[in-house]
Symmetry: C2
Subunit: 400 residues, 2 copies
């Protein structure tokens, strides 16, 4: 078997943890498996590099920033190589040039285009553990690029796809994917498996054990993802293609307090208003989540939408700059999203109604509703988040 | 004009110094010249990396060590790129893969084989300052290598040769090459120029502003070296091919206390003894400097030689292991070498005698003598080093 294992910055933050990761990889290796390890920069080292750069130039060129960033992962892989050698196992560390990891040109947020597998395969054939820098790539100008958020997960999945690995294990500080956040819902239960689409919805909803970019990539190439804890030997959660035999109607409940509702009242009810609004927001890189449009009185309409909290004030500003003809803007940061996710939902009516019933039983008011094929999301007052999550979790008997 | 400028770790040890170097390079650039900058790792960062590595594995594989080392220079060049950008000048940083710098395979002590100049030339044509990582290269396996001692100087000279640069300026914490160490000889004088061969002898003698590897390379390719201070705008010292018009008989006086004399008494006077001795030392990587053999009594001979102080005890151990038949070994660490160096010496008799006279006037006993075409070295008691240097410096009127 060929296994790709990815460990984040926390897992390699110091000597002791580096050796823990090394031992874990060696166990796999000693079963006779081929092991490729993808690492992030140690602990908060990337933040330290940002501080270092900003001290020199508060607005550093992105190309040079990537040149600086990439040393973080190179440090991790080199030290890991030394740790494995110390434990008597042959290992070799490789950076993005050595692999090579080809990406698009854009600095700071590149996409992987192609991964050469020759070098890695050669090293595996010599029975070495191969340790690869996550997060980084090389563009057509032969410059370093970085992959942006969730970059190392993406590297791991892409490598697993390119190498036709049997599994891609993502090690985190949780045991796997849960039916709800165990800190908020007491009888939350670890799932043995979820589908890519469920995981995507959960990632988008901020229940994010995995970044959705890596899940999308895994889905595209059919890579079996395993979310596991770097702290224990639990089996973790498998993320894979949905089975027709799904019994679970709903897989999990997610809550996300990092959201704000913006309501614009009394806009003119004429074509192009929504386009103008959301186009202006997009140009300011503001991602809009839920959207609700209601028909108002006398040829007017109201539009409400949610954005992340940090974008709320800028979004309000954009509206004030772009529109003259409206009655008012209201920004409410005191809201939260609660969602249920489940691949079984597609073929089962009444799931949404059951969720609403749970909230009604708790006397929790729903401010907005949005649905996808495998998700129902409601916007509620933030103070009710945990109560709502528990009520919904119980309603669908997810803890059983 | 195309100028290669090399700055060591001290010159880029912090933000203020990084900006000083940036400004200095920009001055050159604004004269209309093309500027290539070679940098070492910041301050003591390479030592920090060694500490980090040894903490994981006291005997780390050299390949992984080089993988770790190379991040030091990459950090320097990326931050320098940001500093120059901040000052409004286009700059681009390049590592050994991006240049590319091809070296021999050996990790930790590779030799440069070939430098691709296409990327650098392209960047220069776009009127960018090009900032290159010193000390590092890439071998035929596509692995990082490092060049060992004096590595960044070597990178700078090799780049100057490959790019047919008009000069290679090595910035240090001294103004240039002096007739003697100014801390020891008060009226020591800065030289406007020295020949490659003089510089080589001075480097070997530990007066080492430049590592002899970089001087040898400069000599081979006829690169004009300039040793300058990174702290002021003094002209510095030019190192170049010797001129027939040389007026100076002696260019400088060097003292080196890092030496130990080992004497083996009563060896058998038969063929192969010296071979056996120095072959054994070479196998233990012990460099021998001065050698003196004297014929003893009754078919016996004595051999004395000098090694660096750190190798003295091991050398004595090697002798004890290799030889049975001798009367005794004496190790004396309380000695020092004092040398005069000068290209003019070759064609002038009596230079050595004049040096010995200076020492005799000071009543300093000479224990060993060794000469090359452009150098005379004596071994004396360590306590007399400064007095000897001053006496010889005065005798040849080097301060005038």
């Amino acid at each position: 078997m060929l296994i790709v294992k990815k460990f984040g910055g926390t897992s390699v933050a110091n000597k002791e943890r580096i050796f823990n990761v090394a031992k874990r990889c060696i166990e796999e290796y000693q079963k006779g498996n081929d092991v490729v390890v993808v690492l992030s920069a140690m602990g908060k080292y990337t933040d330290e590099l940002i501080t270092m750069a900003k001290d020199i130039n508060e607005n550093p060129p992105k190309r040079e920033m990537d040149m600086l960033f990439t040393i973080g992962e190179q440090m991790s892989v080199a030290l890991m190589g030394m740790a494995m050698n110390k434990l008597g196992v042959p290992a070799v560390s490789l950076n993005a040039f050595q692999v090579a990891m080809h990406t698009t040109s854009v600095y700071g947020n590149a996409r992987l285009k192609r991964i050469d597998t020759e070098r890695i395969k050669n090293e595996l054939e010599q029975r070495k553990i191969v340790i690869v820098t996550g997060f980084q790539g090389v563009n057509k100008y032969d410059d370093y690029t970085t992959l942006g958020r969730g970059g190392s997960d993406t590297t791991a999945v892409a490598l697993a796809a390119a190498l036709h690995a049997d599994a891609c294990e993502i090690y985190t500080d949780v045991d796997g994917v849960y039916t709800a956040d165990p800190r908020k819902v007491k009888n939350a239960r670890k799932l043995d498996q979820v589908t890519y689409d469920e995981m995507l919805e959960l990632a988008t909803l901020g229940a994010g054990v995995l970044h959705n970019r890596s899940v999308e990539l895994a889905k595209k190439y059919g890579v079996t993802l395993v979310v596991r804890s770097s702290l224990n030997n639990e089996e973790g959660t498998k993320v894979r293609r949905g089975s027709k035999m799904e019994k679970m109607l709903v897989s999990g409940v997610a809550g996300d307090a990092d959201t704000a509702r913006i309501a614009i009242m009394g806009l003119k009810d004429e074509p192009g208003v929504a386009f103008k609004l959301f186009n202006a927001l997009a140009k300011h890189d503001i991602n809009v989540d839920m959207i609700l449009q209601s028909i108002g009185r006398k040829g007017k309409k109201d539009i409400s939408f949610t954005v992340s909290e940090e974008n709320a004030d800028e979004a309000a500003k954009v509206i004030e700059e772009q529109f003259d003809d409206y009655e008012g803007v209201d920004v409410n940061k005191n809201v939260a999203k609660v969602s249920i996710v489940g691949a079984g939902m597609q073929t089962n009516a009444g799931v949404a109604a059951k969720m609403f019933e749970a909230l009604y039983d708790e006397n929790i008011n729903i401010r907005m509703i949005s649905t996808s094929e495998i998700r129902v999301t409601v916007l509620i007052d933030q103070e009710n988040t945990e109560r709502a999550m528990n009520a919904v979790h119980d309603k669908f008997s997810l803890g059983d």
